[in-house]
C-alpha cells in the first residue's frame, strides 16, 4: 500500500508492506526493515534498519508524534487520499478559523469584548490565568464577535470553546 508522509515542509513517498511482525518500507532511500513493539500505551520501541528509536504517539487527532523526544507533526496520507488530492479535492474537515478554544485548563479572569464588537487580528480577546501565569489571548482573525461562551471568573477545561469570531 502506497503512503505519503508529510512532516512540515517535507513529503516522502513510501510503500508499507506487512511481513509477519515486520514492516518492509520502500522509499527513495531504499528498502528498510521496520519493527515496533509497544512498551506503554502510545509508546513504541522501534528498530528500523538496526537503528533504535523510542516513538511516542502524543495525540492521535492532531497527528503529533515524537521520535527520541523530538516533537513532529506528521500527516500520513494513503493512496486514496493522495489520488483525491491529485484530483483537486481539499481536506474534508471544515476549519473554523474564528473559533477560539482554550489550549490549557485555567481561569478566565478578564474578557475585553462583548458580542457584536469588531476585533482586528492580534487584538487581545481575554486573559486567562493558569499555573500562576497570566496569558493574554489574541484574536486569530479579524471579524465580529459572534458568541462568548464563558463568563469572567469561570474555570475552563482544555478544549473549551470560549469566543467565536465570524
Amino acid at each position: 500500500m502506497k503512503y505519503e508522509i508529510n512532516g512540515g515542509d517535507k513529503a516522502l513517498q513510501v510503500d508499507f508492506q506487512q511481513l509477519g511482525d515486520k514492516l518492509i518500507i520502500r522509499s527513495e532511500s531504499g528498502e528498510m526493515g521496520f519493527e515496533a513493539v509497544r512498551i506503554q500505551p502510545g509508546i513504541y520501541s522501534v528498530i528500523m534498519n538496526q537503528r533504535s528509536f523510542v516513538v511516542g504517539i502524543r495525540s492521535e487527532v492532531a497527528l503529533k508524534v515524537s521520535v527520541n523526544g523530538t516533537p513532529l507533526v506528521i500527516e500520513l496520507l494513503d493512496a486514496v487520499h493522495i489520488h483525491l488530492r491529485e484530483l483537486g479535492w481539499a481536506a474534508m474537515e471544515e476549519v473554523k478559523a474564528g473559533l477560539v478554544s482554550s489550549q490549557i485548563p485555567g481561569l478566565v479572569t478578564k474578557i475585553f469584548h462583548l458580542v457584536g464588537d469588531k476585533v482586528a487580528e492580534g487584538e487581545p480577546l481575554f486573559l486567562m490565568e493558569a499555573m500562576k501565569m497570566e496569558n493574554e489571548i489574541k484574536a486569530p482573525v479579524s471579524g465580529v464577535i459572534k458568541k462568548i461562551s464563558i463568563k469572567e471568573g469561570e474555570t475552563v477545561e482544555k478544549g473549551t470553546n470560549i469566543i467565536e469570531i465570524g
Partner: protein, 501 residues
C-alpha cells in the same frame, strides 16, 4: 537538634528538603492539598496532613492551617521551601511567635529584601552598586514616565512584591509606558497579592549572575561562589551553571565580597542568594536578594560538595558555620536544566495529564531533583516545574556533554516537557562557546525552535511507520469488538463504555 520538621511546600522542593531531614534523623511532616493526596512528598513523609482544596490560596498559602498542623504534630521547626510562604514576613513572624523555629532569615531581613524598593533604598547605604531607577513604587504614572525618560529607554518595570519574572515588562518607548505599567501591576497583584511596581535602567548585554551566601546566628557570613543564570525565557530561568563562563577571578572576588556585604547590611541569617546584573563592560549592579533557598541551589552543592538544606537546618539550630570562606573551593563544573511541564514548541503553554512512561537519567555525575513518578497526574494548579536535572563533570565541556547525554536519555511520556528545549540550548554553538547574556533566548529563539523539531527523512519515516502500525493496532482492537457486536448488540454498549472510561 530538631526532632520533627514540617515542610510547608509541595513538589520537588518539598521532597528535596525532606531527604536531608531524614538523613539528619529528623522526622518529616508533609502538608497537602486535595489535588496532592498521592503526590511524592506525601508518600515520602512520616506524617501527612490535608490543609485544603487544590488552589494554593486555599491550601499551601493558608498559613493558619499550616500552623495548626505544626501544633497538632508537635513540630519543632518549619521549612518553607521556595515560593508559597517562603518570603512572607507575616508567616515567618507567626511561626516564631508560636514558638516554632522558622528555617529562614529573620522576618526583618525578609521584609527589607522582599520589597524591592526597600531593598534598593537599603543598598544605597552600602558600597554595593545598584541599577539606576525609581526608589519608590510607581504611584503617579506621569511622574514615573519622567524618571524613565531621565534614565533613558528601554526601561524595565518590575514587581515590588515578588520574583520569577512575574509582573515584569520591558518598555521600549514612552508610547507604551502607561499600558505596560497597568499590565505589570495587574499581574503582580494576582501573583503576589501586591500590585506595586517600580522601574529601573535596562542594561546592555546583561548577565544575570547570583551568589549563594550562608550566614549563621553568630555573625559569620560566607559566599559559595556564583551561579550564571542568563538563560531565561519570559524572565524565568531555564538553565543555570557554575562557574560562569563570563566571570574572571578578580570579578568573582569583588562580587563575592559585595554579596557578603549585602547579607551583612540586613543582618541576614540562613541561606540566601544575592542577584547581580553584570553588563558587557563587567560593571555589576545589585539586582535583588532572595531570602530563601533558590531553585538552582544544587548547582552550588555539586561544585562545593555541600548540602545547603543541611546548612540551613544547622544554622536554624543555632550552630556556628562549619566552614570559613577559605574552606570554600569550587571543583569542576555543574549545570542545571529545569524540566517544566510545558509545550516549548507552542510558546511554553503549560501541559497537564498523566505521566504514561518515565525514564529518569542517572549515572556518573547525574542528579535529578524531582517529584514525579510513572502514573502521576500533573494538575494545572501549581508551578509546572517537574524537577531539575543537574550534571557535574571535571570541566565545562564534559559537563555539557553529560547534560546532553542525560537529556537525550530522559523520557517523560504523556505530557509535553522542556527536555528537548534544554537540549537545543545546550547544543547551540553560542551557548556551547559561552559567554552568553540574558538576550540569548530572544536572539536565538527561531534557531532553537527549528532545532527542536528538526528531523531527518529517516526520523520522519520512523514516525510515519509507527503511526501506521499504531492505527493498524487500534483498528484491529476495534474490529475484534465490532465482530462481537454483530451477535450481541446489547452487551457491546457496556463494553464500549468500558473502553472509553
Amino acid at each position: 537538634m530538631f526532632k520533627k520538621i514540617l515542610v510547608a511546600n509541595r513538589g520537588e522542593i518539598a521532597l528535596r528538603v525532606m531527604r536531608t531531614c531524614r538523613e539528619m534523623g529528623i522526622e518529616v511532616v508533609a502538608v497537602f492539598s486535595e489535588a496532592d493526596r498521592t503526590a511524592p512528598h506525601v508518600l515520602f513523609a512520616d506524617e501527612a496532613y490535608l490543609i485544603g482544596p487544590a488552589p494554593a490560596s486555599e491550601s499551601y498559602l493558608r498559613w493558619d492551617n499550616i500552623l495548626e498542623v505544626a501544633r497538632r504534630s508537635q513540630t519543632d521547626a518549619i521549612h518553607p521551601g521556595y515560593g508559597f510562604l517562603s518570603e512572607n514576613t507575616e508567616f515567618a513572624q507567626q511561626v516564631t511567635e508560636a514558638d516554632i523555629v522558622f528555617i529562614g532569615p529573620p522576618a526583618e531581613a525578609i521584609k527589607t529584601m522582599g520589597d524591592k524598593t526597600m531593598a534598593r533604598q537599603s543598598m544605597l547605604q552600602t558600597d554595593v552598586p545598584v541599577v539606576p531607577g525609581t526608589e519608590e513604587p510607581i504611584s503617579d504614572v506621569e511622574q514615573a514616565l519622567k524618571v524613565a525618560e531621565d534614565i533613558g529607554f528601554p526601561v524595565l518595570i518590575k514587581a515590588a512584591g515578588g520574583g520569577g519574572g512575574k509582573g515584569m515588562r520591558i518598555v521600549e518607548s514612552a508610547k507604551t509606558f502607561a499600558d505596560s505599567v497597568a499590565k505589570a501591576q495587574r499581574e503582580s497583584q494576582s501573583a503576589f497579592g501586591d500590585g506595586r511596581v517600580y522601574i529601573e535602567k535596562y542594561l546592555e548585554e546583561p548577565h544575570h549572575i547570583e551568589f549563594q551566601i550562608l550566614a549563621d546566628q553568630h555573625g559569620h557570613v560566607i559566599h559559595l561562589n556564583e551561579r550564571e543564570c542568563s538563560i531565561q525565557r519570559r524572565y524565568q530561568k531555564v538553565i543555570e551553571e557554575s562557574p560562569s563562563p563570563f566571570l574572571n577571578p578578580e570579578l568573582r572576588e569583588q562580587m563575592g565580597r559585595a554579596a557578603v556585604e549585602t547579607a551583612r547590611s540586613c543582618n541576614y541569617v540562613g541561606a540566601g542568594t544575592v542577584e547581580f546584573l553584570v553588563d558587557k563592560h563587567k560593571n555589576f549592579y545589585f539586582l535583588e536578594m532572595n531570602t530563601r533557598l533558590q531553585v538552582e541551589h544544587p548547582v552550588t552543592e555539586m561544585i562545593t560538595g555541600t548540602d545547603l538544606v543541611a546548612e540551613q537546618i544547622r544554622i536554624a539550630d543555632g550552630q556556628v558555620l562549619s566552614m570559613k570562606q577559605t574552606d570554600i573551593s569550587s571543583t569542576g563544573h555543574a549545570i542545571e536544566c529545569r524540566i517544566y511541564a510545558e509545550d516549548a514548541a507552542h510558546d511554553f503553554t503549560p501541559s497537564t495529564g498523566k505521566i504514561s512512561m518515565l525514564q529518569i537519567p542517572d549515572g556518573t555525575g547525574t542528579r535529578f531533583d524531582g517529584a514525579i513518578r510513572q502514573g502521576l497526574e500533573i494538575t494545572p494548579y501549581y508551578d509546572p516545574l517537574l524537577g531539575k536535572l543537574v550534571c557535574w563533570a571535571e570541566d565545562r565541556e564534559s559537563a555539557l556533554n553529560r547534560a546532553e547525554r542525560a537529556l537525550r536519555e530522559f523520557y517523560i511520556g504523556g505530557i509535553e516537557t522542556t527536555i528537548q528545549f534544554c537540549r537545543a540550548v545546550i547544543r547551540h554553538p553560542v551557548f556551547r562557546h559561552g559567554p552568553y547574556d540574558t538576550h540569548f533566548y530572544a536572539t536565538h529563539k527561531v534557531e532553537l525552535m527549528e532545532q527542536l523539531s528538526r528531523s531527518s527523512d529517516e526520523v520522519q519515516i520512523v514516525a510515519g511507520a509507527t503511526l501506521f502500525q499504531h492505527r493498524e493496532q487500534l483498528k484491529l482492537s476495534s474490529q475484534s469488538e465490532s465482530s462481537t457486536t454483530a451477535t450481541r448488540s446489547n452487551w457491546v454498549q457496556a463494553q464500549q463504555k468500558r473502553v472509553r472510561r
